[in-house]
């Protein structure tokens, strides 16, 4: 197994573009996904309502290098799960491209997509809903092996399933059981084993530890790091938990209302956050070190994505917003140290550097 992986990794290292640069594992450009959430046609005609379009993902760009972990954070409704589903092909994009090792997979037909599917797999949040309760674990894990024809004959499949179960620190005997016989953490291990069954290179993990207790979460995060090292996996790791994202990611993107507001290496993002929304998020992390720091809860909530505010979508909650923020949509601009920020205030240099929001916040509770 390890040799196969080493060989694969070697082969992949040679994939370079015309300029000799290494090709990113995943490159997303101008990705958009709109949902039509209008009332039925007749109702619309009678009530004279316009069409309603929800811009779940509204033009985002990012790259994930080979063997890298890219974390995506944001609050509920910011579109991070839609990004995950777009990448694995559960939704088709409204616009934009998704390149897997230089090949656009956004416009592929079902048939063309099939071989690509083997290379990218997904781990879902709820290990209770993502495993078929009527299948034995060995059948759940064997399904991708059969579907992609990765092993010949029952004996070979069984051996591979046993091997996968042991990879995720379960035993081969557990294959005989049904999902309900396992705890949440063990089920998530089964999901991971199933994802690994097709020997993927890229895993999209949508809140994989959010339904788990902290001690079990630690087990799963450690396992994911071990697997990454062993098989040279690339992760897109989506979570609303900033500490988890900090722990596992090499680079982090912060999403707000369908847009990426800041992308930076994990260290940089958490030590010198630029965008006011990133600072807001960092400010909300409970302080386990008990430094006695008073948190400044920023007022307001995520606006409705059907009618997002004009200009910068964060301006109603931003203490630094001015006229330009209210009218002009900010563009993502790279800063010197690898960070990319979409904020007029940062561009103009009128937002002071600092770990957190330093402008006077609105009084707590006043939205």
């Amino acid at each position: 197994m390890a040799e196969v992986v080493a060989k694969k990794r070697e082969a992949r290292a040679k994939i370079r573009d015309a300029g000799g640069r290494e090709v990113a594992m995943l490159k997303v450009q101008g990705l958009k996904r709109y949902f039509d959430v209008s009332a039925p046609w007749l109702n619309r005609m009678i009530e004279r309502q316009p069409k309603q379009i929800l811009r779940a993902v509204d033009g985002i760009d990012f790259e994930i290098g080979q063997g890298e972990t890219f974390g995506l954070v944001g609050e509920s409704g910011c579109g991070k799960s839609t990004v995950a589903r777009l990448i694995v092909g559960l939704y088709g994009p409204s616009e934009g491209s998704i390149e897997l090792e230089g090949r656009d997979i956004a416009g592929l037909s079902r048939q063309q997509m099939a071989p690509m599917r083997r290379r990218l797999q997904m781990i879902f949040q709820d290990p209770y809903a993502s495993l078929n309760p009527r299948w034995r674990v060995r059948d759940i894990i064997a399904e991708p092996i059969r579907a992609f024809g990765l092993a010949d004959g029952q004996a070979a499949i069984d051996a591979r399933v046993g091997e996968l179960l042991e990879t995720v620190k379960l035993t081969a005997r557990d294959g005989e059981k049904y999902p309900h016989e396992f705890s949440g953490g063990q089920r998530q291990r089964i999901s991971i084993a199933r994802a690994l069954a097709s020997e993927p290179e890229f895993l999209v993990c949508d809140e994989p530890t959010s339904a788990l207790d902290v001690s079990v979460q630690a087990q799963i995060l450690n396992l994911m790091k071990d697997l990454q090292r062993e098989f040279g996996l690339t992760y897109l790791f989506i979570s609303h938990n900033l500490a988890v994202v900090y722990h596992i990611s090499d680079r982090v993107g912060v999403m707000y209302l369908g847009k990426l507001v800041e992308v930076a290496p994990a260290k940089t993002l958490f030590t010198t956050p630029r965008h006011p929304y990133t600072r807001l998020l960092l400010d909300t992390i409970p302080d386990l070190d008990m430094t006695g720091r008073e948190r400044m809860p920023v007022a307001g909530e995520v606006p409705n994505p059907i009618t997002p505010p004009p200009g910068c979508t964060f301006h109603p909650r931003c203490p630094f917003a001015n006229e330009r923020c209210r009218t002009e949509i900010p563009k993502a601009r790279p800063l010197g140290d690898g960070a990319i920020v979409a904020c007029h205030g940062i561009e103009e240099g009128r937002i002071p550097d600092g770990p957190t929001l330093s402008a006077p916040a609105k009084p707590e509770g006043m939205a």
Partner: protein, 346 residues
């Protein structure tokens, strides 16, 4: 006299296959105006403790032993109607999911007014004014307008504010808050925590904050009880428990929480999972997952022992066999919980 005293509380669930003990002989107290955090992983019995105190255990669950005293009077054996008076008037409750705590068919105003009128003899007009004041107090903008709206017209954070307003209707002495921020986004969570803290300070209300989130506890609680498999593993001032954990479980739990700024390649992990209620091990319930287990742990159940400023249920601190508190603390602090895992693997 503490506001609330819980003595040797036992909560049982009779099932066809025998009786399950969800809460096994726990004692705690809450002083006036104090925030007691209760943390633990799912199945530790923390919500059951809260439900037993407000008398809302779901049958067949029942209080099978012990006493619960509020302001010196027993409330665990009151008839239903009397307990209903105390709930709402002296004890308020906030649950995890604000949508299920509110009736979707009634406007929030009607629900607030109904609660106020149940417990006081205000006129409908007075009750409505009080309801508007409450909504304003919990930070809902334009309360005069929003009072006539229905729960579905509120966002998650705003709904939780309404639930807090409901719990505050008649100035209760104690609020049981069961995972009040778990269903909310992080930025809203911070707002709700700040609100709870402020209300607690201004009204002198005591809060029992049940949560699985150590961060929330660290921010909010004065004292904290760490629960494991139906028992309290460690209880003490929050700083003492978080910064200076005595029990190997608390220590492992703290190590397994990823935190920003701490660059460890691997998180500490506690091997295994919390036992099911049907097979709680003999002796200390944590012994199969503990890296320090010795014979006594496998046979005798530890009770809470005073160690420095907190109380810990761990035989490492019983002072027998020449074990000193200092040495045991050092042992716990320096051993990674993974040690056992590696031992087992190898």
């Amino acid at each position: 006299m503490p506001l609330l005293e819980v003595e040797n509380l036992v909560v049982e669930f009779p099932t066809r296959r025998g009786t399950l003990t969800a809460v096994n002989d726990i004692s705690l107290h809450i002083d006036e105006g104090e925030v007691l955090g209760v943390v633990g992983e799912s199945g530790a019995g923390k919500s059951m403790t809260g439900a037993a105190i407000i008398g809302l255990l779901e049958p067949p669950g029942r209080v099978a032993g012990g006493k619960i005293l509020l302001e010196g009077e027993r409330i665990d054996n009151l008839p239903y109607e009397k307990m209903r008076r105390i709930r709402g008037k002296k004890i308020g409750a906030i649950f995890q999911d604000p949508l299920t705590s509110l009736n979707p068919l009634y406007s929030v105003g009607r629900q607030l007014v109904e609660t106020i009128q149940t417990h006081t003899d205000m006129t409908p007009t007075q009750a409505r004014e009080r309801a508007i004041d409450l909504l304003r107090e919990v930070g809902i903008p334009a309360p005069e307008r929003r009072i006539d709206q229905y729960p579905h017209q509120f966002s998650g954070g705003m709904r939780q504010r309404v639930v807090i307003a409901l719990a505050l209707c008649v100035n209760p002495r104690l609020i049981i808050a069961d995972e009040p921020t778990t269903a909310l986004d992080v930025s809203i969570q911070a707002q709700i925590i700040a609100l709870l803290k402020r209300l607690c300070r201004e009204h002198g209300t005591a809060v029992m904050l049940v949560t699985h989130d150590m961060g929330v506890i660290a921010e909010t609680a004065d004292r904290v009880a760490v629960m494991y498999a139906g028992r309290i593993a460690e209880i003490g001032p929050v700083r003492e428990v978080i910064k200076n954990a005595k029990h190997p479980y608390t220590h492992g739990l703290m190590g397994s929480i990823p935190s920003i700024g701490h660059d460890n390649e691997r998180l500490e992990q506690i091997p295994g999972a919390m036992p099911r209620l049907t097979d709680i091990p003999q002796g200390c319930a944590f012994n199969p997952r503990c890296p320090h287990t010795f014979d006594k742990c496998r046979t005798v159940r530890p009770d809470l022992l005073p160690v420095e400023d907190s109380w810990t249920a761990c035989w490492l601190y019983d002072g027998e066999d020449g074990r000193t508190i200092e040495a045991s603390k050092k042992l716990v602090a320096e051993t990674k919980a993974d040690a056992l895992l590696e031992k087992n693997d190898g």
